[in-house]
Each structure stands twice: as C-alpha cells, then as structure tokens.
C-alpha cells in the first residue's frame, strides 16, 4: 500500500477481480449465467467501477478491460442479427465469450468452498501435541462470544459499498472529507490502541475512535485494528449483525508484537 503526499493515492491489492464482480452482480440480480441481461449487468458493472474510482481504489487494468468487453458485447447485441443462410454456421451469441470463463471461475469458487468446508487441521480437528496454551485475558464478567458467531460472509465489493456509504453519510452530515496529514501515523495509532486495550481488555470499535474522527483517522484506526488482529494481539467479534457500535475487540495475546515501524506510511 502506498500513501503519497500530494493528494492521496491509496493503492490496495484487490484480490477479487472482474470475474468476481460479474458473478456478484449476476447473483445479486438472480439472473441465469447462460442468459445474462448484458445491458443491466454492464450498467451496474460500470456503476461499481465509478464507485471504486471515487474511492481512489487503484483499479487493476483487468477491470477496465472487462468493462470494454461488456460494452462491446452490449453493442454487438444491439445490431440486428445477420442473415443466417440455411445450413450455414449458426451465429454465435456474443455473450458466449463471457460464459465460459464465468462458468470455470464459478466452478473453482465452488471447489474452494468445498475445500474450505472440510475439517481443517488445527482449526476444526486437532491431532496430538501441538502449540502452547492460551489464557485469554478478559475483563471480569466478559464472556467470549461463541465461535459460530464469528463468521460473516461478505465480499470486498460489499466492503467498498459500505465504505462508500460511510463516507457519503459523513459528507451529508456536513463533515469535511478533506484528509489531514498532520495528525497521527498508523504506527502511533497502533500504539494508542495497544495501550488502550492492555488497560481495558475489551472495547467496541466506536470507543476507539474519537468523536470528531475524520475519514483519515477512521481508515487509520481500521488498518491498525486489522494489523493487531492479524498478529494475534486482539480478536474481533461482531455481537449482532447490525451492532451500531461496530465489532467488539478483545485483547487476545498481550505479547504479540506488531511492527509499527513497518506500518509507517508517512
């Protein structure tokens, strides 16, 4: 990721590509993969691209190539069908060039899901021996949510949408969307959250944000929390799907170190 000083360009790795976005739209519209309503899907696809561009997501060229492909197919479909001579080769549906890769992609998504639902060693099943013991440091009276509550199904496109929504909400509240570079670095923020949690043991996401947090601080806090969760310092739980206070954070392993120096993007 990269944050440069004149204007802000966030470069994020996008692990879901144009095919994922297309499948996402096909599923959301509940349309048949073999009979894609190209106009509708193209319009929605371009809407997403715009949304991602407005968020400064550095769109991989693949997304734009797919946009071009969709537009091309759409225009082909608008042309009157060519005269087909009896016995001559059938005119191919211009959508065919999309269907094959989409089907293959979807098949592997299913394969991945089947793989992921297998009992996984050290996650679902355990063999003899293994790692040390965990003493989860919870405040008195706090109970760890049950594991089945931990799973949320979502895609990064939903994340883009949610973030976009959050920012536009703040804009409509009359909050400035300008970014302030002079505030804190992510390393400092990380340290603050660490110290806060070592003391409090558990907190809501909201509690970690100051009242006047702007979108830059919001993003910074989010990155710091994700980094701390990755290193095992804290664990994230969502009590209810729509908890307005956001997910809850628990101190998991006080000894886990996140390298703040590697997180200083300033």
């Amino acid at each position: 990721m990269l944050l440069d000083n004149d204007g802000i360009t966030l470069k994020l790795d996008i692990y879901e590509g144009p095919l994922d976005l297309l499948l996402h739209l096909i599923k959301r519209n509940e349309v048949d993969i073999h009979d894609i309503p190209v106009s509708l899907i193209t319009a929605q696809y371009l809407e997403y691209i715009e949304m991602m561009e407005s968020l400064n997501l550095d769109l991989a060229g693949d997304f734009l190539i797919m946009a071009a492909t969709l537009t091309h197919i759409k225009s082909k479909m608008l042309l009157p069908a060519a005269e087909v001579e009896p016995g001559g080769p059938a005119v191919e549906d211009p959508r065919m060039e999309l269907v094959q890769p989409l089907l293959e992609h979807a098949a592997f998504l299913a394969a991945a899901e089947a793989l992921g639902s297998r009992p996984q060693l050290d996650r679902d099943v355990f063999a003899r021996g293994g790692e040390g013991l965990l003493t989860l440091d919870l405040p008195a009276g706090e109970k760890l949510p049950r594991p089945e509550q931990r799973i949320a199904k979502s895609s990064s496109f939903e994340l883009v949408k949610a973030w976009h929504h959050l920012l536009s909400l703040r804009a409509s509240e009359g909050m400035s969307l300008s970014f302030h570079m002079e505030t804190v670095t992510i390393g400092e923020r990380l340290g603050q959250i660490r110290r806060f949690l070592l003391e409090a043991k558990a907190a809501h996401f909201r509690e970690l944000l100051g009242d006047g947090a702007d979108s830059f601080e919001l993003a910074l806090s989010l990155l710091a929390i994700l980094e701390l969760a990755r290193t095992g310092f804290l664990r994230l739980f969502q009590d209810h799907e729509l908890d307005p206070s956001g997910p809850r954070l628990f101190l998991a392993d006080p000894s886990a170190q996140a390298g703040p120096e590697s997180l200083d993007y300033r």
């Binding site: 590509g17 293959e104 098949a107 592997f108 998504l109 089947a114 063999a127 496109f157």
Partner: protein, 182 residues
C-alpha cells in the same frame, strides 16, 4: 500380551504424525499385515463412535492419525494459544485451482481467477500448502509450476488427491442460491 487393536491404538496415540498401514504392520510384527491393521482401525473407530469418544482415527495423507471430533473445535481453540491459521477466500480459491490443475503455471491460475496471484502464491508457499514442483521447459523463461504438498493433504484431511470431489460433482452453479459464491 496386548491385542492388535490395543497396540494400534497405542502407536497412534504416541505418534505425532500420520502412520501408514504398512508402517504400523512393520512395527507390530505379528503377521497381521496392513490388512489386519486396517481392520483393527475400523473396529477402533466403531468403538469410539459407540462410546461417544472425543476422537477418531482419520485417514490423512496416506496414513492414519488420531484426531478430535470437529464439534470439539470451540473448546480446543480456547485451549490453544494460536488462533487458527486462517486462509482467506482468495487463498482457498487459489489453492483449489492448484489442487485441481496441478502442476500449474501462475499465469494459468490468474487466467481462471481473473486477478493477480503472486502474493497469494507466496503465502501458500510460506504455509507449505503448495510447492514449486518443476518448471515448464518449453516456455521462455522456464516458468515455475506449482503443486500441492503433503501438508495440504494433512491439513484438509484428504487421504490423497483422488479423494477430492471432482469439479463436475461440484458443478451446481447454475441456480443462484444464497449461501454460495459470496
């Protein structure tokens, strides 16, 4: 003199890795052979199921291993220090492509997934779930080919690659359904 069943159980209890039928038979040396050991394992598993035991003997990566039941995972996880090594959706997808198409080029993985796979391949290599198995000599630059590892089979409780469901068996993608894809 302990029974064959008891010896098999004892050996699996002591071992920290999966043991093949051949290996077990070789250690036991009573002439039961791999078949006899296999039958003993079946009997043990039947007993465990009947007695509601916490574990059973699972066939993994061409061997057998004592493993806890999945419904004990919440408790075991509370005991363990490390949160389970989570594989992201993207990592699972990449792993699936490699598992089914191995040995496979990075370019082929990226064509199917439609996104760059470099970072994820590195993660999977680090986790030792995949390895560089060879190079495609016929292509310029001799690009690397990726395959899954023994640890992949162990992790996903697969006795071998053939026990993966075929892609056709999974191909129920046409009707849009809720819990799928995303």
């Amino acid at each position: 003199m302990p029974s064959l069943k008891t010896i098999v159980e004892g050996l699996l209890f002591v071992s920290d890795q999966a043991l093949s039928l051949e290996k077990l038979a070789e250690i036991i040396e009573d002439g039961s052979g791999p078949e006899g050991v296999g039958r003993a394992i079946e009997e043990l598993n039947a007993e465990y199921a009947l007695a509601d035991r916490a574990f059973s003997i699972r066939e993994v990566a061409e061997g057998f291993q004592l493993r806890t039941r999945p419904d004990l995972a919440p408790y075991a996880l509370r005991l363990k220090r490390n949160t389970p090594a989570k594989l992201s959706k993207a990592a699972l997808e990449t792993l699936a492509v490699i598992a089914y198409r191995q040995p496979v080029l990075r370019a082929e993985i990226e064509k199917i997934r439609g996104v760059d796979a470099g970072g994820i391949i590195k993660t999977l290599l680090d986790k030792e779930l995949i390895r560089i198995s060879s190079r495609r000599e016929s292509l310029p630059g001799r690009p690397m080919l990726y395959s899954t590892t023994h640890k992949f089979l162990e992790t996903f409780e697969l006795s071998d690659l053939a026990s993966l469901p075929t892609i056709d068996e999974l191909d129920n993608i046409t009707p849009p359904s809720e819990a799928r894809l995303f």
